[in-house]
Symmetry: C2
Subunit: 249 residues, 2 copies
Amino acid sequence: MPRYRLTIEYDGIGFHGWQIQAGLPTVQAALETALFAITGDPTPVTGSGRTDTGVHALGQVAHLDTRRDWTPDRLMGALNAHLRPQPISVLRVEQTHPQFHARFDARRRRYRYRILNRRAPPALATGRLWHRPQPLAADLMHAAAQALVGRHDFTSFRAAECQAKSPLRTLDLIHVHRQGEEILIDLAARSFLHHQVRNIVGTLVPIGQRLRPVAHMAEVLAARNRVAAGQTAPPDGLYLVDIAYEERT
Amino acid sequence: MPRYRLTIEYDGIGFHGWQIQAGLPTVQAALETALFAITGDPTPVTGSGRTDTGVHALGQVAHLDTRRDWTPDRLMGALNAHLRPQPISVLRVEQTHPQFHARFDARRRRYRYRILNRRAPPALATGRLWHRPQPLAADLMHAAAQALVGRHDFTSFRAAECQAKSPLRTLDLIHVHRQGEEILIDLAARSFLHHQVRNIVGTLVPIGQRLRPVAHMAEVLAARNRVAAGQTAPPDGLYLVDIAYEERT
């Protein structure tokens, strides 16, 4: 059976996240419904990982097997035609080696969090960013965030319902900068704990507002206690940007 | 009566354009309804100009008079509170001189048109750009567009229902460039004819696809005939960016 790798963009608004849940609209369910319509076979889709309700993706990756051979081009066209008008778009389809695994082979996941930092609420990007009207100092947020880079116990930033065996994660990069009215927070790691990005963002905001010192972030990390961190930022501003995979020989 | 100048962002989706029309949701109607709720007085709002159904604004300008004095800050907060959850956001409120006129004093209007130029349809920006899957050469579009700069008879790019007395307009600037998967077309003029921007964009696209030569644009302009130009591009990709006003002494 040929295996295909998909790169997928979706709008988190209106979906109960990536993963199939009985009776709820999810991205995975929409893809599997479209694939069944196209191939006539039940076709499970394996994503690189879940995204929560309301979280967006610019480059989610998934793999699937089909009984018949499809040209990647035809499969992409058929998928996008069947997915319409749902806000899911298949950006790329590639035939890949039969051992490729979208989840286990992922080596680096990149996320971006967008904050709209102006007094007036958003009219054009409702549900697509977090509106914080108080002025935020991106440079202070960036300085504070550097305490998180490297291998750490991220218990303070982990959701109670997180299913990972270990709270140890290696954060490769966190970068905070202002672009016009927006504060953009870029992160990269092999993997993230549940709500890790949103809890980091929720902890950075009071530092950007100068309600907490830059050193606060290192203290929260060292506390290894969810209570030490800030609020969980809403899913609206969170984007799964892309996923890098190991090159196989 | 104090006069206020508003700067307004709105999402064209869901509105029948700017201008009040009986029984239809429009941006002007939403603003006047909010102002009546706030002030208790019928308060007409005068915009810099109309925008069509589906056209967005990042910086529409309007003026209004109130019977009582309001601090700009309070008026802005009250307006945004009353407008919620409609996708209209008042970005700035300034008290201005009593002769300021949002329409007649405008000296330069800037528009941007966004084309998504990739095979896959948009998932995150549906209704906010025009999807053109065939590759477009931004450099050819830019070269062709330069024929339009200056004072010309724009009859070829004017909607049949255009109410302007003269088809003469002075286009100050048209700039086409690629930004990742998007083709951005920026235009500036003191004023535009009805559908002028959308008809220009619809004429540029076949040039970008190499179906028409660069010289085609000058020929269409010289024809002074709407039939010579291309299709009217959809409103989805069109943004009123901002409006510059004469400085008064």
